[in-house]
Each structure stands twice: as C-alpha cells, then as structure tokens.
C-alpha cells in the first residue's frame, strides 16, 4: 500500500541495500505540518517503535485536539479523536476494555498540561497501562501561538505580548517532575528534538515506553521538547536553537523514572 514499501521492495529486488525507508506504521501521506515543526519527527519515531516491536496491528492511538488531530492520516494503526484534553480518559476506557492492545495518547502542552491536567494526573496515578507521548513546544500551535502552560518565563506570545509574567501567569509547568511525584508510573523521561543526538534519545525513550507497555509493566510518559518555529516566529534553524538554548534549561532532559523507581 505504501509507496515507501513498494519502492524499498523494488530496490531490494535489484540488489540495492535500503539504508532508510518510511516506517511501515506511517502512511505515505504528505503531512500538513509546517516547515521546522517537530511533529513529523515524533510521528516517525513513534512509528519506528511500533515497527520495531511489531505491534502496529494491535495498537490504538488517541489523537489530541491541536495540530496533531490529523495524526490518523499519518499513522497506519487504529486512531480515535478525543475531546480537548481528554485523551488520557479515552485511553483509560480503551485499555481497560482491551487490555491486550497497545494504547498510546499523543498530546500537546495545552491539551495535556492545561485543559487535560486532571485526566493526565489521574491516569498516571492509577498507573494505567498506557503510553503518553507529550509534545511540548511551549506554545499553542493550532490556534496561532497563545501562551501554553509550558511557555517560558518572559516568552512573548499572542496572549502574553509583553512576555510571560510569573507574578500573574505563574512559571511553566514541568510535567515530568509533577508526574514523578506519583507512586504508580513505571517510566518517565524527557527528551529534546534539538539535533540528531536528541532525536536518537527520543527514539530510544519512545521504544522503552512502548516496550514497557508491551511487557505489561505500567504507565509510561515521554515528554518531547519540540520546535514550533511558525508560532515562535523563528526560522526552522532558530526553532532548534530555541529548544536547545531556551527550553532545555527550563525543562531538564533526563530519565525521571525507570522500572517504577525514581532516579
């Protein structure tokens, strides 16, 4: 079905070695994401994890409200929409009813850390056997660049045009640290798409998270610091720099919880 797989099989029949191909868990659709956006990379990494573990045909994803709502056009697995912020509750309903399926939610910072905070925390606290892919780009992307719960101190957005003021808007919320206060989660890691090394770490983190679920270990949470150059009014290159220079100092990149134990 996918052009990538057709071409790769064609290539191998001619004896050529395939160095890189689209993961089987991605469709060959062109994404609607902006130049320099991190979603395309995260989609690919999630799809690679599904491929590596051979779980595409028993995986159900939950698309958020936000730029990634159309994720079902790109993932070659079953996907449902969810109301804004409620992906963790929808994931809970799916996983409890289909415990042998792999359930992941794919959420942005507004969806997960603002409107969906209660569902996020309680699903983690119940230790739901789901994988949460949290794409943190410090801004509301789909709606054009409003302040997110993870916007940085002083960061200018449409709704904090003079910069985020801690005295009235509070500091950015660190979700990994917050979830790490709970006893139930099995695996929590924050990674950053700030360059090739960050992408490789993100790939490893997502694989670990899905692997945990496959093994029936429990709740896994991967936060991915990701560029949104259009809403940050940056070039794609400067978007990567923003992630590296601005976001990482505010959101430390590390493993917080491994095999159920805080590190």
């Amino acid at each position: 079905m996918s052009a990538a797989r057709k071409s790769s099989s064609g290539a191998s029949s001619r004896g050529a070695r395939v160095l890189a191909a689209r993961p089987a868990s991605l469709t060959d659709a062109h994404t609607h994401y902006c130049p320099g956006c991190g979603h395309g990379i995260v989609h690919k990494l999630v799809a690679e994890a599904l491929d590596t573990l051979g779980i595409r045909e028993r995986t159900i994803g939950i698309a958020p409200v936000g730029c990634a709502v159309l994720a079902y056009n790109y993932f070659r697995c079953d996907v449902t929409e969810a109301a804004h912020g409620r992906a963790a509750a929808v994931a809970t309903g799916l996983k409890r009813c289909l415990p042998d399926r792999i359930i992941f939610s794919y959420q942005g910072d507004g969806d997960l850390a603002a409107i969906g905070m209660a569902e996020t925390i309680h699903a983690a606290n119940r230790g739901e056997h789901i994988t949460v892919v949290f794409v943190n780009n410090a801004v509301y992307g789909m709606t054009g660049g409003q302040m997110a719960p993870t916007s940085l101190i002083g960061q200018k957005t449409l709704t904090c045009p003079d910069g985020r003021d801690v005295s009235t808007m509070g500091p950015p919320i660190r979700m990994c640290e917050l979830i790490n206060t709970l006893a139930s989660p099995w695996y929590i890691e924050r990674v950053a798409l700030d360059g090739p090394i960050g992408v490789r770490r993100a790939r490893r983190a997502l694989l670990t998270a899905f692997q945990s679920q496959v093994e029936g270990k429990g709740y896994s949470f991967v936060e991915i610091l990701s560029p949104c150059p259009v809403c940050l009014r940056l070039t794609p290159g400067d978007g990567l720099k923003f992630v590296h220079d601005q976001m990482i100092p505010a959101f430390p990149v590390q493993v917080f919880r491994k095999e159920g134990k805080p590190l």
Binding site: R56, E57, R58, T59, I60, I62, V69, L70, Y72, F75, R76, C77, D78, V79, T80, E81, A82, A83, R86, A89, V90, A91, T92, G93, L94, K95, R96, C97, L98, R101, I102, A118, E119, I121, H122, R126
Partner: protein, 383 residues
C-alpha cells in the same frame, strides 16, 4: 381503565416485564439499584462514574457488581473524565455507561456531543435533582430541555427514555443499550431523585437482552484489515454538511420507529393529562380519582421524550376539551406539547420547581377548572 403501552406507529403492547412473574421472582430494590441491575443484565461491559447525590446507590452498585463478573468499573476523577472513558470503551466496541445527576450531566455535555458526532453508542443515566446551579438534591425535571434538545453543541438529538417506576428504571436501561447499538448513538435514561431513591418490587430476572450487534467500525487494532479511525472532525469543504445530513436522516429514522408512550383512560377523555416520570405517577392517581367521581379524564405518558409522541398527542388533541401538562419544572415538556397540539385545544400547565412535587389535589383542582362547562361568550353589543 386499561393501560396501553405502545408505539405510535405500531400500537403493539409493550412486553410488560412483570407480566406472568411470580412474587418470589420480584425483589425490593431502589430505582438506582434497578438501573445497575438492568445495565448488567444488558451486558454493560464498562461503567464509569463520579459521586453525586441522588444517584450514589447506582455507582456503589456498579462498584460491587461489575468486578464480580469481570467487567470494568472506574470511579473517575470527574464527570468529564467519566464520559470520556465511556467514549474510549465505546470506541473499543464495548457496551459502556455512565450515570450522574443534573450538575454532573451538564459537565458531560461536550462528551455527549462527541459521542453523537462520532456515532458511538453509550448509555447516560441522569437522576435529576433541583437546579439551576448546585440547586438541591430533591427530585426535579428541570433537565428536559438539556436532554431532549441536544444539550451539547451542534445539531444532534439522542433518544431519551423516561421511566416512571423501579421496574422501568430496570427495563428502560436495558432498552437503552439496545437503542444505542441499533442507532450508534448515545441514549439517555432520564429519571429523577424520587425514582432513584424509592424502593419498589422489581423483577430483574424476566427480561432477556439482545446480544450486541457486530461492530465492524470498532477500534480493535488494524489486525488483518486497514486502519480505522473514530472522528467527528471534517475540515474538507462540504463533508461536515454531508455528515450532518446523514445524522439528520438517522434522527428521522429514530423518530419514525422509536416513539414510546403509555395511554391511560384516553378513549372517552374530555380532558387529557400529559406527564412523564414521577409526575406521571401522580397523574395516574388523579385519573383514578377523577374516574371514581365520574369525570372523564385521561393520561398520556410520554416514555420516549425524544422522539416525542407528537402524532398521538395531536390525535388526542382533536378529541379533548383541554390538556393539562404536569411537570416538576417551569414548563419544559409543555413546549413540545404545545408544538404537537398546535392550537387545536387549550393547553394549561401545573408545575413546581426546586424539589417541589405537584400534589394530587392541586392537579385535580386545575382539572376541574378545565372540565367546567364552557362559559357562553358575552356578545359585545355596545362599544
């Protein structure tokens, strides 16, 4: 006075659950427990709820009995989470249910709109209490508009069933699961605190539920088939309108096939009472007393509030001298009655709010006014 339960289109007798039931098959339970028993009998796979009075017995019932049979029970962190857990369970192809009372049902409205938009079957039980706001915990019928007119955003309806006894709390909950699956729609059971809290004999063992139909649309993993998605977002030009037109066509099918009502002593009635739920119970007492006094009074009890029994009401309106609507609200169903009657006969109203329950005597007095011989209109001979 024989009670006729039936459809508007096909005047068939409802298979009344207690018929042929021996006394030892009946148990004395609350309406809330009866809903739980009906849901489990109907094959409810997953229940999600959040505490709120006056429906707490139902959540406690499910907490005890769902895990006993290996089914899913979660006390959610909010009513919002509960309806979205229902969404997930329904997307998985399972029979799912949540229950709450008025303020909690308000919180579920976005989720109900999503269920309607994505065409996912689910059962929502509203054991109504007094409002607006936090209101009180007494029985009320102030959520009729919310239940029957859409409630959440967008153009949609859902079937709404209104029990008037503990037996019907049980039976209509079972029917709600069948309707939900048949039409891929959320379905609401609209009760009130009195029906939820009171105890009556109930025969839970007599009814059988149909097995759920196959659900090829369910998300179970794309094993041996193409991936599927559950969605209500349609950005392409004209596609959402087509989706809406298809939904409206479904609503027309439901309207044509699923109207339910009970008629009591309507054949020769001069005055017709229209009431549902708790108010219908009181109205039945009024009818009995009126008939004992030789007054020709009948009752139409809508059982499906949406679709509303418009046709039978219009037919009855041609025969009676007046209609009295009784509700525990400021007059919400009253608007549907007036639309159905369309000026054919006078429609008056008797209602109380905030936990007040209309009394038999008050209703009887209003009826007597309607039954008085018509006054001769005074001619205006002089200016």
């Amino acid at each position: 006075m024989s009670a006729v339960l039936g459809h508007v289109s096909r005047r068939r007798h409802h298979d009344h659950a207690t018929k042929g039931v021996t006394l030892d098959q009946r148990v004395l339970i609350t309406g809330n427990d009866a809903v739980g028993a009906g849901a489990i009998r109907a094959g409810c796979d997953a229940y999600f709820g959040y505490p709120i009075t006056p429906q707490n017995e139902l959540t406690a019932y499910m907490a005890k009995h769902m895990p006993e049979t290996g089914r899913v029970f979660i006390q959610s962190e909010s009513e919002v989470a509960a309806i979205n857990m229902v969404f997930g369970a329904a997307a998985a192809g399972k029979r799912a249910m949540t229950s709450s009372s008025s303020p909690g049902i308000s919180l579920k409205q976005e989720g109900i709109s999503f269920l309607a938009g994505t065409e996912l079957p689910a059962v929502i039980v509203n054991v109504q209490r007094g409002g607006p706001g936090l209101g009180n915990i007494a029985p009320a019928q102030g959520d009729y508009f919310q239940a029957t007119k859409g409630g959440g955003h967008g153009d949609y309806h859902m079937p709404v069933l209104a029990p008037d006894s503990v037996q019907e709390m049980h039976d209509l909950t079972m029917d709600a699961f069948d309707l939900a699956d048949r039409y891929r729609s959320p379905v609401m059971v609209l009760a009130d605190g009195r029906l939820g809290q009171m105890m009556e004999p109930c025969a839970p063992s007599i009814r059988q539920c149909k097995p759920p139909p196959p659900k090829p649309w369910a998300l179970t993993g794309a094993n041996g088939r193409e991936p599927q998605c559950i969605r209500s977002l349609f950005l392409e030009e004209g596609v959402l309108e087509q989706h809406n037109l298809r939904l409206q066509e479904k609503f027309r099918r439901i309207t044509a096939a699923e109207v339910r009502f009970e008629e009591r002593a309507t054949r020769d009635a001069e005055v017709l009472l229209v009431a549902y739920g708790t108010c219908a119970r009181i109205a039945k007492g009024v009818v009995a007393r009126a008939r004992a006094e030789g007054l020709r009074v009948g009752l139409l009890r809508p059982i499906s509030l949406w679709p509303f029994p418009t046709d039978i009401l219009a037919a009855l309106a041609r025969r009676v001298r007046g209609i009295l609507v009784v509700e525990m609200s400021a007059g919400q169903m009253l608007e549907d009655v007036r639309l159905a009657v369309n000026g054919l006969t006078p429609v008056s109203f008797e209602g109380r709010m905030g936990g007040g329950v209309p009394e038999e005597q008050t209703i009887f007095n209003s009826l007597s006014d309607l039954l008085k011989p018509p006054r001769v209109a005074r001619t205006r001979s002089r200016r």
